[in-house]
Amino acid sequence: MLRVIPRLDIKGPNLIKPISFEGLRVLGAPEDFARKYYEGGADELLFMDTVASLYQRGQFIDIINRVASEVFIPIIVCGGVRSLDDMEVLLRNGADKIGINTAAIKDPSLITRGAEAYGKQCMVVSIEAKRVGASIWECYTDNGREKTGLDVAQWAMQAESRGAGEILVTSVDKDGTRSGFDVELVRSIREAVSVPVIASGGAGKVADIVQLLTDANPSAVCVGSMLHYGLATMQTLKASLAQEGVQVRIVPQEK
């Protein structure tokens, strides 16, 4: 059963939507979007702290806390997690899973320590992948700004062996473009690991998701702009997917 995960990029008090991690639009209060997606049948929510500065961290954590008090599906939180203490703070404020990228690349033992403390299912290794050649992708950090020289499939395998329970792969090239997923990228990760893969970056229409499933078969997809800009609602998206023969969870709507 495919999980559909709205992705909420947060800056300060706002939901924003960057394009290929740059240039952004302010969309509104994240709590309102989160509630609407939960009620419409989102399977999880993904929150990304795009700033991850100490100065604005409190504000981000308050958002997570408020959302978790009224939303009863898993919440994945990414961005700015550097230590077990950072994880603890997020979990105490409503996160169910922690996504790590930059800090895991700097010190892969953080994945293992997180998995030992909170269980594998809590550790999501987030990979920001940029295409650097035919069928070659490089891991980036710091919101798609810094190169690492790491090959994405190699890193995904290492992350799994270190204790990652899921791999979140975001195409830096596709994110926010609504021009379809980087299907080949998702397939290469899917073939490299035997833990669930969450595909992110590029969803623009139902057909993009259907094609991704047919050709790469991830366990979950992230959807951002498509929902935030009202091109689809959770209900219409799930209904269209079901119509295309995709197994999804349909939530009966309250009258």
Partner: protein, 221 residues
């Protein structure tokens, strides 16, 4: 007002479970680290994630095993969640063989084995159907049992799972549900008298999960 203790034995994140109970109006619900306080409570919740062996060690070290036995033999309800369901069983194959609380007879096995399919992705993370099984002993008819925890949910509700181990079978006198997993299946709900357990995370299973928690909250014999 029912007093509910969520047992904290340092195995995972309990805050969203507490939030869910509070949301349902259970103001007298708290996270408890001191086993000697357990007898003050009407209902226990044994949550948990991760290693069975570490879970058992931590329970015993804190004296929660004895507190749980006393609570259950007093006829008071307990709800095991995820690894909490597994710890109620006789033993686990994790690290060879580890003894559990043995409140329900049965073994915990790795999901790769229960799946009967080498391509199975483990951990199992996501939504899956919870299907009542067997024979209704109360009504003495061959039809799926009335599962008390599922009262008021849709038939075969979808719930959220996140686990690497599972239970293959439980004894005949237990009311239970199963969940399909690749070519195999695992036990996803257990009920016997005052012992309740779910393999999924009710606090993360949307409205269906809240209904399950509310049924446990309201349960009285």
């Amino acid at each position: 007002m029912t007093h509910i203790a969520i047992i904290d034995y340092r195995c995972g994140n309990l805050f969203n479970l507490l939030k869910a109970f509070r949301y349902l109006g259970a103001s007298q619900c708290e996270i408890v680290t001191d086993a000697s306080r357990i007898q003050q409570f009407d209902k226990l919740v044994l949550p948990g994630v991760g290693s069975f062996k570490k879970g058992m060690e931590n329970l015993i070290l804190a004296g929660f095993d004895q507190a749980i036995y006393r609570h259950v033999s007093d006829g008071k309800p307990i709800l095991g969640i995820c690894a909490g369901l597994q710890l109620l069983m006789s033993s686990s194959e994790e690290f060879g063989h580890t003894k559990g609380l043995d409140l329900v007879q049965g073994q915990v096995a790795h999901l790769k084995r229960l799946a009967g399919d080498a391509r199975a992705l483990v951990p199992h993370i996501g939504w899956a159907e919870v299907i009542p099984q067997g024979r209704d002993h109360m009504a003495n008819v061959d039809m799926p049992s009335k599962v008390r925890l599922l009262a008021g949910t849709e038939p075969h509700p979808l719930c959220y799972f996140a686990h690497s181990y599972g239970v293959a079978t439980v004894p005949d006198d237990v009311i239970y549900c199963k969940t399909p997993f690749y070519g195999g299946e695992f036990v996803s709900v257990i009920e016997r008298r005052n012992v309740f357990a779910v393999q999924f995370h009710p606090e993360l299973s949307g409205r269906a999960g809240l209904t399950v928690l509310n049924n446990f909250l309201k349960f009285s014999e």
